[in-house]
Amino acid sequence: MESLGLDITKVPIDLVLNLLNIVLLFLIVRTLAYKPIRKFMDARTERVNAEARAAGEKAAEAEKLKAEYAALLENGEAVKQAQADEARKAADAEKDRILAEANAKAAQIVREAREQAQKEHDEALGAMRQDVVDLAFDISEKLLEHSITDDDTKKLADRLFDSRVGGEESA
């Protein structure tokens, strides 16, 4: 070994010093560099995973809400449709009722108008008849007043005395 330039008695000291060097280096690098970097990376990974988990939960919740809202929307459509149908039915019924009412009123008005017209016609007719009658009687009175003879008067007397009719009580 001496021919190679190695003093065998000094080997253990070199080995020990080198081993100590390696151990010290390991402790320094681990404490000051490796562990902090590892800790930072793990914390960041955990943070990202937590955010991803939260995002996943939020996405699942959003999906659930979306499904609920879709169902509600579908139901809402059905309800809306049913309500629309009901409203339509009610509107139709109301329309029919109003129409019937209007028709009835119209019929009544027509009937009343006809009745009124009839009444007025009858009244007019009656009035006219009355006028005719009055006129006829007026004319008759005038004519008879001047045309009545004694014979007519005697005939009247005969009628009175020949019939069995009694006189009326005087007022």
Partner: protein, 72 residues
Amino acid sequence: MKTAKIVCAPNVSDDAYAYICARFARRFGAEAFERETDAQLLGGFVVLFDGKVYDMSLRTQLSALRADCEKE
């Protein structure tokens, strides 16, 4: 004395009056007659006797006829 009042239209002559009196007396037994003229009667006569009225006036006839016509 049973007196009958005879209300005549102006166009009733005396002859007709007398006829009426005669017939009334015969029928109802009236003994005396009063004559009254009423232009409203138009023709014929009305007798008032013993609380009864015997209306044979033209007016009443016409009124009855008118009433019948109106009733129709």
